[in-house]
């Protein structure tokens, strides 16, 4: 490595722009920070030797230089910004509303939004945030963060550590705040030192030259907050592994007991009760709002019992469960156990559990028999008294009349309908009747009009269903750590400033210069206080706005 020896005696690494010790501009390197075209010196990284600005031969140098550029970083941010915005033009796939024409994205976007929707879908913008190119963009921002920080932090740290109180006059003159005073007494200098100390500056005093400094730690703020961001990105990467992150969804009926997905069949859940409460419309405070908007829910809650499966001693042994805990799960109040968290996430009201039908002789209105269908487990045939038999030939859990005839919307038993075939002991064939649609238009339809027996609903039991999310996320503490470090770093950098005031002796007088990384107004006020009651000239702001 070629070292550069400054006239002050300090040996600087190759690529240095301003001598680390005295700040004298090093000849031949001024173009690096653009100092050759300006009066003022570019003080951003103290003119330290950055790898990206020094080496540009190998391919690694070039990649390093590319990613260490703030310009490139800003472009990456801007591209990510625009891409993110594009993704909000239409809803993302997971936010296609439940009442949409179709929840199939290939239909939904075109049907709902026309041509632009079709383009949106075909470009893959409906899953934009999990697309390879969006993730690549975020990853590139991560790379840029690491390289930018390394490229600057190390040389900046060294330069600030090696700085001397005595600075080269050409360094001081080319600071934004500068003044020269021809005659200054020793008493006045002492006064300045005291005033600086009073304002909590750390004062260094070398051969009559003064360097007063405060808030240097704020210079590390950007690097600290970048570390925080990198931790967050790493956490996001870890989250893609199923050990670190489990995301399941369980539907469980009231009274039902079912395994909790994602727990390796270790835990079971029983839904004791689902509760939906609404606000009291007689509550004076909310009466007007409820009148306008209709009933407003106040609580969605599932009361559950959690069971733990007993360890099986012999493989194939029957499953034994023991009660692990009971819990109330409601919005903003998830239930946590053994690293898992259960959230109240959805519900279905009024599904049918059982339906009881009676078979009646139309001619004399005499009831032959009754049968009960357990909708969670419907049988094919039901044997009745006197050799009567009912067969279920069609079953629609959530019946509706589609363009192609009767159909079921979902498998949820929200509006069951049946086609029954009733066979009697004395005839060979069976009578067919359509029964159901009790939630909309109760129907009891006899296609031939010649049936002798009628199947009628006489009783039904209903239940609610709770939807619960199951989560296990070991990456959360890492996200938290990243966020905390980011906040510390960003506050460190934004709420404190690195201020320096130089008072260097020149002949009988002094050169006074000041520099801060932000809040020049504050620095000017500091200097004003420091030199009050002395003959030292107030600094002139030489800022060049361009």
């Amino acid at each position: 490595m070629k070292h550069i020896k400054c006239e002050c005696g300090h040996v600087n690494p190759e690529g240095t722009v301003l001598c680390e010790a005295c700040g004298k501009p090093i000849e031949g390197n001024q173009h690096i920070d653009g100092n050759d075209r300006k009066k003022l010196l570019n003080m951003r990284y103290e003119g330290s030797a950055r790898r990206s600005q020094t080496y540009n031969k190998s391919i690694i140098d070039k990649i390093w230089s590319f990613f260490s550029s703030v310009k490139v970083g800003v472009w990456l941010i801007v591209i990510a910004l625009v891409a993110s915005a594009i993704g909000t033009i239409y809803p993302q796939k997971m936010y296609i509303p439940a009442d949409a024409i179709s929840r199939d994205p290939s239909i939904f976007y075109e049907e709902t939004y026309g041509l632009t929707g079709k383009i949106f879908y075909q470009l893959g913008f409906h899953v934009l945030y999990s697309s390879w190119w969006y993730m690549l963009l975020i990853a590139l921002i991560g790379v840029s963060l690491v390289i930018c920080s390394l490229d600057r932090f190390v040389p900046l740290y060294k330069a600030l550590k090696r700085q001397k109180a005595k600075r080269h006059p050409s360094f001081l003159e080319r600071q934004r705040l500068f003044s020269q005073t021809d005659h200054v007494t020793d008493g006045e200098k002492e006064q300045v030192i005291q005033a600086l100390k009073k304002q909590k500056y750390k004062v260094r005093h070398e051969e009559g030259h003064i360097l007063a400094e405060k808030g240097r730690f704020s210079r590390w703020g950007p690097y600290v907050n970048h570390i925080g961001l990198i931790i967050i990105l790493l956490a996001a990467l870890l989250r893609t592994s199923s050990f670190m992150y489990i995301d399941e969804y369980v539907w469980v009926r009231e009274g039902e007991q079912t395994v909790i997905d994602g727990t390796d069949s270790q835990f079971y859940i029983e839904n004791k009760e689902f509760i939906l409460e609404t606000y009291d419309e007689n509550d004076e405070r909310f009466a007007e709002a409820i009148k306008k908007q209709g009933a407003i829910p106040s609580n969605f809650q599932t009361n559950v019992i959690i069971y733990k499966a007993k360890e099986q001693e012999v493989p194939g042994q029957e499953l034994e469960l023991e009660v692990y805990d009971e819990a109330e799960i409601y919005m903003n109040h998830p239930y946590k156990f053994e690293g898992y968290t259960l959230y109240q996430a959805g519900y279905q009201l009024n599904e049918f559990t059982t339906m009881t039908f009676a078979v009646t002789d139309i001619n004399n209105n005499e009831q032959i028999d009754q049968f009960m269908i357990d909708l969670t487990n419907p049988q094919e045939t039901y044997e009745l008294n006197d050799g009567f038999r009912v067969m279920i030939s069609e079953y629609y859990p959530e019946y509706y009349m589609s363009d192609n005839g009767p159909d079921s919307r979902t498998d949820n038993t929200k509006n069951p309908a049946f086609v029954f075939a009733v066979s009697t002991p004395d005839s060979e064939g069976a009578e067919v009747s359509f029964v159901g649609d009790y939630m909309n238009t109760p129907t009891n339809f006899d296609a031939t009009g010649e049936n002798d027996y009628r199947v009628e609903l006489i009783d039904a039991e209903m239940h609610n269903v709770s939807g619960l999310t199951v989560r296990r996320d070991y990456t959360l503490p890492l996200f938290g750590l990243g966020a905390a470090i980011f906040m510390i770093g960003v506050m460190q950098g934004m709420y404190w400033q690195h201020r320096r005031i130089w008072v260097n002796v020149k002949g009988d007088g002094v050169l006074l210069a000041g520099h801060t990384n932000k809040n020049w107004f504050g620095l000017k006020k500091d200097i004003e206080k420091v030199i009050s009651d002395t003959s030292i000239n107030q600094v002139i702001d030489q800022q060049e706005l361009d």
Binding site: D99, I101, E288, K292, M331, N519, L545, D546
Partner: protein
Amino acid sequence: MDWFSISSGALYTAFILYLIATFFFGATIKDKKTTHKGKSGTIGIALTIAGLIAQLVYFITRWIASGHAPVSNMFEFVTSFGMGLVLAFLILYFIYRITVLGLFALPIAMILIAYASMFPTEIAPLVPSLKSHWLYIHVTTVSLGNAILAVSFVSGLIFLIRQIDQTVKNKKNIWLELIIYSLFLFIGFIVISSVFNATNYEAVYGYQYNDKSYQSTYHMPPIAGPHNGEILTPGAMKPLFEAPSWMHGKDAGQKLNTIIWSIMAGTLIYGIVRLVLRKRVGAAIQPYLNKTNPDMLDEVTYRAVTIGFPVFTLGGLIFAAIWAQIAWDRFWGWDPKEVWALITWFFYAAFLHLRLSRGWHGEKSAWLAVGGFAIIMFNIIVVNLVLAGLHSYA
């Protein structure tokens, strides 16, 4: 007097105090002494503080009346944003002592409060997902963060009005005029809503959406009706045209109608002002800003971002994520509101990095500050009303 009336009265008082304070800040422009605060500046600040206290009374009494922090719907949220802007202005005023900031910050805060008041103001109970302490922790921090960032818009706008060449028509002063014009659109919305509220106009239209029937209650005469709509209120006027079919969502036609009326009213008011001034509004204000120091304004723009950015990050991303994890089982879900918070964050991150480069101080910074405010307002208004998502509590 019940708490609710006290709260409404206090908000009204705050509004009036801000209005009077604005006039006093206006008087400071003519002060010969620019460096030190004159009498009118001091009175202006005192009135601003009094107004802020009145608005705090509104906030606290409404909290007592409803039993939850008043930040749960459009009215409450935008009002608290306005309050935050006043607080943020005071913070920056006490650092830099620039009274002209108040001359612009207070009218913008008043526009926000008046705009908010056009939405339903009655107290609504909290839906289950909002029932959490994180409601006020998250929302007040976001409000304050946004408000501090908005001060950079205020100083950036003053900078632009002062610095942009107005002698001949050029691209820059047309853009600046567009920004001023867009403020007039808000005023147009406020004026036209108030007018039709006072006349109690109401007409109901039915329409089909996704094979289901809906109704829209119009409070302004329908220029744009719902797509495939029918008149349900007997004797109501027939819409001049129907909203195009690609506009989707509930009440799309009604929202379009409101926008059309607001643009008409805003343009009319702007037109009258232009007729009176006989020049661009920016050009008319410019001479009064002669004594302001552009370097100082640039400093305020940057400082507001440096103060506001961490607050916004904390409230809009970190607290938001914590609450989302508790309420919705995921700390981040790419909901439009979340995405736009991220966009805001990206934008100001880019701003802060650009400030490191030469050539981005002064005018360019000021333009950026305006752009940032546009993003913030987009997230508050458009995302809530148009890009319906989990955050549509309006």
